[in-house]
């Protein structure tokens, strides 16, 4: 029911008319903490096509993280419509959303979010376990991914035995495990020094070149400039949307 994930990486020719893989229309998000209601997003319209490389930028508290969470199906919009690859996501059950996150979206977090008790191999294997892939397929896929991120010799290490840049590369391998349509990265270089950060962005550029769709959240202007489109968010709404300078 989710089609073949491989279609995600070669972009373009898809049934969803204008090629938009992410389509938000009038999305509003209100946090209701009982006494106070905070409007984190108000009327956001955003469309991202296959094989775009987008940076979402804005000051802290602008709503960019909320936007990212909604795009990643980690949170649901209070109002408005969100179509992921032509499929309306709002109103889906918890388990349907879990399946969507599993197969269509790969996450890269600022603090890596690798599970410390697992080896690097097992961390990358996790999404494949949740998908229900057989053991042999899992092993081959994970090995290929480690090859791809250049850490084939670190598979049996635990996260604490890896450097920050290596951990983030493991996280990228994990994000790619189920061949998702979109890779969402939330400040992926925030906890890295500039050399490792540059290396990670290089990795993203490589993926983009291979046809992946990437959405990056950052407040770092130099990183935003290396993407192809910059969406500026402020006070819960998109204030600027332009090709990267």
């Amino acid at each position: 029911m989710f089609g073949n994930g491989k279609n995600g990486s070669n972009g373009g020719q898809r049934r969803d008319g204008d090629g938009a893989i992410i389509a938000l229309a009038g999305v509003r998000k209100v946090y209701d903490t009982g006494a106070v209601k905070v409007e984190a997003l108000r009327k956001v319209d955003l469309s991202i096509k296959r094989n775009e490389f987008v940076a979402i930028v804005g000051p802290s508290g602008s709503g960019k993280s909320t936007l990212m969470n909604i795009i990643g199906c980690l949170d649901t919009a209070t109002e408005g419509s969100y179509c992921l690859r032509g499929e309306e996501v709002s109103g889906m059950s918890i388990d349907r959303l879990a399946d969507i996150r599993n197969r269509r979206i790969g996450f890269v977090f600022q603090n890596f979010n690798l599970l410390p008790q697992l080896t690097a191999f097992e961390n990358v294997e996790m999404p494949l376990l949740f998908k229900g892939a057989p053991a042999k397929e899992r092993r081959e896929r994970v090995e290929a991914l480690f090859e791809q991120v250049g850490l084939a010799d670190r598979m049996q290490h635990r996260p604490v035995e890896l450097s920050g840049g290596q951990m983030q590369r493991v996280a990228i391998a994990r994000a790619l495990a189920c061949e998702p349509d979109i890779i969402l990265a939330d400040e992926p270089t925030g906890n890295l020094d500039s050399a490792a950060g540059g290396d990670i962005i290089g990795k993203f550029e490589e993926l983009w070149a291979k046809g992946h769709t990437l959405v990056l959240i950052t407040h770092d202007g130099t990183i935003a400039r290396r993407t192809r489109r910059v969406v500026r968010v402020q006070d819960g709404t998109v204030v600027d949307d332009a090709p990267a300078a």
């Binding site: 599993n102 996450f107 979010n113």
Partner: protein
């Protein structure tokens, strides 16, 4: 996602949280051990006490003819009532539901002499049925008084095991002679050791039996000191007792409501009391045990709550990577269940070990603790339930959370 992976994850979690796992396990082991041991000791104690009561005989009533305490049909009080063979025969006819009855002659003044040893034990002159009623079971190679002994008034004697030890020491007694007031009696049997917690005229181990006919012929006594009857069904003892009094009242002309004329000791009353006492005792032990387990369970669920709370981040990551609710819940339920199974098994093993190593010489006082299957099943069921609930509820509430909330922690 496969049991092998869940298991692997469990082992990893246990390893990464050694102290917590150890504490949880300790609680469960303690709970299981406490419950099973409490109930096992209760069971053993009950069996011991019942065995002791039964030492005297099953469902028997011992009756002593005495004196009337009320005048009756012109006859004065304080009349002596005597029981002879024809009374026993009449009771045999008139009282339904009896499996056996026997008069008993008693003497406490006969000198038993073997070599230079002289003892004056309690002596019974009894019928062959006496053996079965009063649990006087002969040791291998011996026998009790039999019908031929009765007919021929043989001079044979059956010794209690204690008495035999006193007279003969460790050497064989059967086939040897005992001089009873100068007359040699052939030893035909020695009683098997038994537990007896109540008696009249001394414990059976220190008494001797000779045929009633021999006793009568040698000592010239016609009246029985007492008689013992046995009823098949404990529920019919009361009716039999009433019928015995009614029959004897008619024969000897005394007031059937006169409680003094023939005194009775109903051994089943002890047993009835013991049964209700033990029931109460075991309910008490069971409730204590179950409460112990429940307290243990609360401990486990508390710990699981903390574990889930602590691992919310991990749950968030897994949800972000596409774990369904069921997978999250399964992991925690499985972990708690496995912990309870391991804890329960170790607890059982400890209890079993303690029961197995229980010193046999304490059996006389405490009985031997027995781990019963029902207790095991009940404890296992309770533990399983506790484990399931303790894992299920915190995990479910965590899995229902928004992944964002979980990740933010």
């Amino acid at each position: 996602m496969g049991w092998k992976n869940v298991l692997r994850q469990f082992l990893r979690d246990v390893r990464s949280q050694k102290l917590r796992s150890a504490l949880t396990l300790f609680g469960l082991i303690w709970g299981t051990t406490a419950v099973t041991l409490l109930l096992a000791f209760g069971e053993g104690l009950q069996e011991r006490m019942i065995k002791n009561i039964r030492g005297l005989g099953d469902n028997i009533v011992i009756c002593w003819p005495s004196q009337t305490s009320k005048p009756w049909q012109g006859l004065p009080r304080n009349r002596k009532i005597t029981i002879k063979d024809d009374d026993i025969a009449a009771l045999k006819r008139e009282v339904p539901g009896m499996t056996a009855i026997s008069g008993e002659y008693s003497a406490g003044n006969k000198k038993f002499k073997v070599g230079h040893k002289v003892i004056v034990p309690g002596l019974t002159g009894a019928n062959p049925v006496f053996a079965a009623m009063r649990n006087l079971i002969p040791q291998q190679g011996g026998r009790y008084v039999d019908d031929l002994d009765m007919d021929e008034r043989r001079r044979i004697v059956f010794l209690g095991d204690g008495l035999k030890q006193d007279l003969f020491g460790d050497s064989e007694a059967v086939g040897q002679y005992v001089n009873v007031n100068g007359t040699p009696f052939l030893v035909v049997g020695v009683m098997q050791a038994k537990e007896q917690d109540s008696s009249y005229q001394g414990r059976d181990k220190d008494r001797a039996s000779i045929p009633a006919t021999t006793f009568r012929a040698m000592y010239g006594q016609q009246e029985y000191g007492d008689f013992v009857l046995q009823v098949a069904d404990a529920g019919k003892v009361e009716a039999a007792k009433d019928q015995v009094i009614a029959t004897l009242a008619k024969l000897h002309r005394f007031d059937p409501t006169d409680a003094e004329a023939v005194r009775m000791w109903d051994v089943t009353e002890n047993e009835k009391f013991m049964h209700s006492f033990m029931l109460g005792f075991r309910i008490f032990l069971g409730v204590m045990g179950v409460l112990t387990l429940v307290v243990g369970g609360i401990g486990v669920s508390n710990i699981m709550n903390v574990v889930v709370e602590e691992r919310t981040k991990e749950i968030g990551v897994k949800m972000a990577l596409g774990a369904r609710q069921r997978m999250i819940v399964t992991q925690f339920v499985f972990e708690t269940l496995l912990l309870t199974v391991v804890g329960g098994t170790i607890g059982f093993a400890i209890s079993w070990g303690i029961c197995a190593a229980f010193p046999a010489k304490l059996d006389k006082f405490l009985g031997t603790p027995v781990i019963s299957l029902q207790v095991g099943a009940l404890t296992a069921g309770l533990l399983g339930l506790i484990g399931f609930l303790a894992g299920y509820f915190p995990a479910r509430s965590a899995a229902r959370r928004n992944p964002v909330e979980a990740l933010r922690l």
